[in-house]
Amino acid sequence: MDLKQELLTYILKEHLPGEAPDSLKPDDDLIGSGILDSLAMVNLVTHLEKHYGIVVGAEEMSPDNFGSVSALARFVAGKQASA
């Protein structure tokens, strides 16, 4: 499974439990939709750090990096490549 699909599956399972698999698209707005509240962000960042071995800095937690599943996948891939 590619990174984007993995993240999509994770966010669906953790943050939209019970929703149909096609209810979240890679470019859907995670911020405006209210999916990423404070606790969701804590859970998502701890998941990224545990699962992908990256460290997310405070300055990186921005809408540019977390605004959609596609943006998140780009961010994680970039962090892994520069590690």
Partner: protein
């Protein structure tokens, strides 16, 4: 006495004043509108059988609905039992089994996880929530009816031996007055709210609505949006966790927060780097409050003094502090408090405040030093709580799940420092035999039983756990490595 009366008084005093602003643009509820909404909701809940003395499990995300449902339950003389939405399905079931609930109220999205705890199908209350009678897993404790209970927080409590902390309406009223001697919240305040309402409500939301402030709800918690919300709505006070201030301090823009009066951090000690970065970015000194579920906010450090770094501040006037010499040497003492607004009882096993505080003092279990200027420094805790961005849990809960996995012989879970969240859990595991466990399966197993923030960031396979001479597990990361 009922806390709804304090809301009624505010609504009578300032009906047109904003009570709740946001989260969507242009969404403003005045005190009069909010009180009407509470009354309408109470009417609907009464139609579905909610009565005085009932315990109602509330499973709902933080927001306007959480606030109106809590007040509507109180309007009927019933007690709120938060079922945090962030818990795993299994953890939610433990709340339903641990407290004798009469009803479960849930937002429609979250009803699935609670279905085993329901005695009948969910009935629609309105577009947002449904209600169902709860299965009875236990009897209500004999003394419960004597407490005018507003909340039961299903937590292990500060001392870790009891389940469920019962807070009455009178207790919460006393708490908010005690805290407001320092915070001085009034109708001129607009408070940006950032924490989980399942864990933070009494000395915050209730205080704001009782003292006539407006609550500003953010649409999300990205720093850019928080700063924007502050300036757009004229926020005077922020109530958040260190993580929120760390994020705001590192936001790449240049907007300041000119209207800000207080930015209070709670849940876990602030890092000095966060305080300094926030000061550099906004020219504002953060405040820190010590919150204890059984007590309220006994200490607040309003303007953190550089020479008092690491202190939780000075004691509020409503509290007394006893630093008890327990033979630890130096100035280290055991921290005990007494004062107004203390918890009413532990739920299971049922123990009243008077029984728990036999000598009149509440023993926090924490160790600390009180300096000559009256600043309290907490130097250690006699318990093993792990605190991830303000969400606290005991390591034993995670160890029990790890130990239940086939092939795991024993485990030890402890806190590791984390730059953004303060702490994250880390696990060491001893296997019954080499290669007995595949880590992906073990993590998946943990994911089924625990909320994501409780899952260890790393699971280390070790030949043996570190123990003290008396055989107790060592959970101090500095002593383990």
């Amino acid at each position: 006495m009922n806390l709804v009366e304090l809301l009624d008084a505010t609504a009578a005093r300032q009906p047109e004043h904003a009570a709740i602003i946001g989260p969507a643009d242009g969404e403003v509820l005045s005190y009069a509108q909010f009180r009407t909404w509470v009354d309408e909701t109470a009417g609907l809940l009464a139609d579905h059988g909610v009565r005085k003395g009932h315990c109602v499990g509330l499973h709902c995300p933080s927001g306007r609905d959480y606030i109106r449902l809590t007040y509507a339950i109180w309007r009927l003389g019933a007690c709120v039992v938060p079922i945090p939405t962030e818990l795993s399905a299994e953890e939610k079931m433990r709340v339903c089994q641990g407290i004798a609930l009469d009803h479960v109220l849930s937002d429609r999205k979250g009803q699935g996880a609670l279905s085993p705890a329901l005695a009948a199908p969910v009935q629609r209350v309105d577009d947002f929530i449904g209600i169902a009678p709860a299965k009875r897993y236990r009897e209500t404790p004999a003394g419960f009816a004597e407490v005018n209970a507003a909340f039961i927080r299903f937590t292990s409590g500060t001392t870790g031996t009891s389940k469920g902390v019962v807070l009455s309406h009178e207790t919460i009223r006393d708490r908010i007055h005690a805290a407001n001697e320092a915070l001085k919240i009034g109708s001129g305040d607009k408070v940006l709210w950032l924490l989980s309402m399942s864990y933070h409500f009494a000395v915050s939301i209730v205080a704001y609505l009782s003292f006539g402030a407006a609550i500003v709800l953010a649409r999300n918690h990205f720093a850019k949006f928080l700063i924007d919300a502050c300036n757009r709505h004229g926020v005077t006070l922020i109530y958040g966790a260190p993580m929120h201030y760390e994020l705001m301090a590192h936001e790449s823009g240049s907007e300041r927060l000119p209207g800000l009066r207080l930015a209070i951090s709670t849940t876990i000690a602030l890092n000095r780097s966060t305080v300094e970065a926030f000061d550099r970015r906004f020219g504002h000194t953060l405040s820190q409050a010590l919150g204890v579920i059984e007590i309220g906010l006994p200490c607040i450090d309003l303007y953190m003094r550089p020479d008092k770094w690491g202190s939780v501040g000075k004691l509020l006037p409503a509290y007394e502090l006893r630093m008890e010499d327990v033979g630890l040497g130096g100035e280290l003492r055991r921290i005990k408090f007494r004062g107004q607004g203390f918890f009413d009882a532990y739920y299971d096993p049922w123990r009243t405040r008077e029984e728990v505080m036999a000598d009149g003092w509440f023993d926090t279990g924490d160790l600390g030093v009180l300096d000559s200027d009256g600043y309290l420094f907490i130097k250690g805790r006699s318990k093993d709580i792990i605190n991830v961005a303000g969400m606290k849990f005991f390591p034993q809960e995670v160890e029990a799940v790890l130990n239940a996995f086939p092939g795991v012989q024993e485990s030890c879970v402890f806190a590791r420092k984390h730059e953004l969240f303060g702490e994250v859990p880390h696990a060491q595991v001893v296997l019954a035999k080499p290669d007995a466990v595949a880590e992906p399966e073990l993590k998946a197993f943990l994911g089924q039983h625990l909320a994501p923030y409780k899952i260890p960031e790393q699971i280390e396979i070790v030949p043996a756990l570190v123990r003290t001479a008396s055989g107790k597990l060592v959970r101090d990361e500095h002593r383990i490595k």
